[in-house]
């Protein structure tokens, strides 16, 4: 388990991180979301030891993370970077050796990852000759070469085509589920985070605004919303119902919010009396909606 406790970091007068605290449990995928400049990259750089915090601690398996522990972390920076003129296979082996893997093992692992990640290139190709999507796969392979005990990925999905997104999603899920590796990754694609992750951490202006399982977050902010479509209904037909107000109008219907214990069945009865009910469902707030709500609050 990875624990960040009270991480604080300033760049000159700018406070990049202000008391950032959250947890990445074993075997779970944690989405790290926030707007540009909210502190995601700074946080991840501190976790992997590229930056030092001004205050706070990174705790890995119960002890402050040191250089030895960090050699077992896998990191994919947002600024992708490989030696452009080095051959792909050679490069992966070299990077793995920096993490203490011997050449034979690194050789085998590189070949294996080439297949798993569906890199469309020859091992002897130079990195600069690869398409961006393939470079990105190689970059991810570099992070996975030494079978890391923790994965920290900064925007791993950006720039991938839909197939690439699926492949990467599956690889991350396997790392977490089968090998129990805690995985934390940042992303702007919130519906993707929602689909892939167990937990999210929401950061804004260097502060963690929300942290937890996506379902819990939803439940905590769950409003009782109903989406209803009726053919031939009157304007504001729901005004007769106590505790029901219009949340928003849709082209073919409405979203209503139920408060004060108003009963959905009662709403359905009134709706049916209005005409043919084409659609009647509970509305789950999406992660994007949660995100907007939390950030605006």
């Amino acid at each position: 388990m990875l624990k960040l406790i009270g991480l604080t970091r300033r760049f000159g007068d700018v406070v990049a991180l202000d008391d950032v605290t959250f947890t990445v449990p074993e075997g779970e995928l944690v989405g790290f979301v926030g707007r540009n400049g909210s502190g995601k990259t700074t946080t991840m750089r501190i976790v992997v030891g590229v930056l030092e915090p001004d205050a706070g601690q990174v705790i890995w398996r119960g002890a402050p993370a040191d250089a030895v522990a960090r050699r077992r972390f896998g990191y994919m920076p947002e600024e992708r970077g490989l030696y452009p003129r080095m051959r792909v296979h050679e490069q992966l082996v070299y990077l793995a050796r920096l993490h203490g893997i011997d050449t034979t093992e690194a050789d085998r692992r590189a070949t294996e990852l080439f297949e798993t990640l569906q890199v469309e290139a020859k091992p002897s190709d130079r990195v600069e000759s690869l398409s961006l999507g393939n470079q990105q796969r190689v970059q991810l392979a570099a992070a996975l070469m030494h079978r890391p005990e923790l994965l920290v990925l900064d925007e791993p999905f950006s720039g991938l085509d839909p197939t690439g997104v699926d492949v990467l999603g599956a690889v991350l899920a396997r790392e977490a589920r089968e090998h129990g590796v805690p995985v934390v990754f940042s992303s702007h694609q919130l519906e993707l985070v929602e689909r892939v992750c167990d937990r999210v951490v929401l950061i804004e202006r260097g502060r963690v605004l929300a942290e937890g399982a996506i379902d819990e977050l939803r439940a905590a902010r769950m409003r009782n919303l109903l989406r209803i479509e009726i053919v031939g209904a009157q304007e504001r037909w729901f005004d007769v119902l106590p505790g029901v107000r219009l949340e928003r109008s849709l082209p073919d219907g409405v979203v209503l919010e139920l408060t004060d214990g108003a009963d959905p069945q009662r709403v359905l009865d009134v709706a049916r009396s209005q005409g043919e009910v084409r659609h009647f469902s509970r509305v789950q707030p999406t992660l994007s909606e949660l995100f907007r709500e939390v950030v605006q609050a």
Partner: protein, 367 residues
């Protein structure tokens, strides 16, 4: 590889120039004569008596052949009657021996006229050679040692510069390709910098040893020098000072590389470091002429320039032992003082992609 080849060519040219311009400092002339002329034999004898000059006589059947040989450079001059034929100008020492040989010729004629005996003539020849007593005797090998030190200094300068720039561009390459961030996740900034310096430094050392060995072998083979012992010790001296100077300068080159993000900007940040090395180089050249001027003595002790200036002074026998010891101590101390400063500036600058990072910003960023 290419740079090694270029270096080999430069060394070969330098050594060949010396070898063909008379190697160990003697002027060597080929003088043509027409078969049967007595002046010819005389020149060889006279040349033997003049220190530092040698002449070899080449016989031609007639004047036309002798003139042709002068014209196409097979001989340095042709003596025909009382006329010395040369292509462009006659070197002073050649003129001197020809003139002396004429004088000797006349002398013989006069002695013949008066019927002087062979024994008396021998006495007239000059008796025993003069004994020279020097009040401050110089090293007889100084000229050669100077030449060896000069070539050594040029090699050292090239290595220091070339491999220093290699460190800077290596750091820059890792920064601009962003690969530095995953490297820093596997090791600390200072380790990365140190690894780069040691790796490239070892290559530089290897190449220097190779070039030095090649230069000495070539110089001995062509007769440009004939002192294998001092050549080897000057080479070792240069190698030792290369290690000191590279250790001193490399961390500065690394910081310079970390401050910028593009190759085009690298030249600008390297200017201060390059300037110091170039100035040291010129001071060291002046050390060949005057190894004990105040400027040269100071330069040979300061770590910024000792690697270039001190081996030259040692080679010509001008350095006191304490000066040598001080230069080594200062170089090591300077390196150790510089490493933590450079390491911090490097760590602060290497992740800041974009424009040129100011040194002060880099220093603060690594706090």
């Amino acid at each position: 590889m290419v740079s090694t080849l270029i270096n080999l060519v430069v060394i070969s040219v330098l050594i060949s120039i010396r070898a063909f311009s008379g190697g160990t400092g003697e002027a060597n002339f080929q003088v043509g004569t027409i078969a049967g002329e007595p002046a010819g034999d005389r020149i060889g004898t006279v040349a033997q008596a003049v220190p530092g000059v040698r002449a070899r006589i080449v016989s031609f059947p007639d004047e036309a052949a002798a003139r042709a040989a002068v014209a196409d450079g097979r001989v340095d001059g042709a003596l025909i009657g009382d006329r010395l034929i040369v292509r462009e100008v006659a070197p002073a020492s050649l003129r001197q021996i020809v003139q002396l040989s004429f004088a000797a010729e006349r002398q013989e004629e006069v002695l013949d006229r008066y019927g002087i005996t062979a024994g008396d003539r021998a006495q007239l020849g000059g008796g025993s050679p003069i004994v020279i007593e020097a009040l401050e005797p110089g090293d007889p090998n100084r000229d050669q040692n100077e030449a060896i030190a000069f070539v050594g200094m040029i090699l050292l300068y090239g290595q220091l510069f070339g491999y220093g720039v290699w460190v800077a561009s290596g750091v820059l390459e890792e920064k601009s390709s962003r690969v530095v961030e995953i490297l820093l996740a596997a090791m600390r900034a200072r380790q990365l910098m140190a690894g780069k310096i040691v790796g490239i430094g070892l290559l530089g050392l290897l190449q220097l040893a190779f070039l030095g060995g090649f230069a000495i072998a070539l110089a001995l083979a062509t007769g440009a020098i004939d002192l294998p012992g001092s050549a080897a010790s000057i080479a070792l001296l240069d190698i030792g000072y290369f290690v000191l100077a590279f250790a001193f300068y490399a961390s500065l080159f690394a910081v310079a590389g970390a401050l910028v993000s593009r190759m085009e900007e690298l030249q600008n940040v390297l200017v201060p470091v390059n300037l110091v090395i170039i100035v040291s180089f010129f001071i060291s050249i002046s050390a060949l002429a005057d190894p004990n001027s105040v400027l040269v003595r100071v330069a040979s002790i300061l770590p910024t320039s000792s690697a270039l200036a001190m081996p030259v002074r040692i080679a010509v026998g001008a350095a006191a032992w304490w000066e040598i010891a001080l230069s080594v101590v200062l170089s090591i101390a300077g390196t150790f003082a510089l490493i933590p400063i450079a390491g911090r500036a490097y760590a602060g600058a290497v992740l800041r992609i974009g424009g040129r990072v100011k040194l002060r910003e880099a220093w603060r960023a690594a706090a």
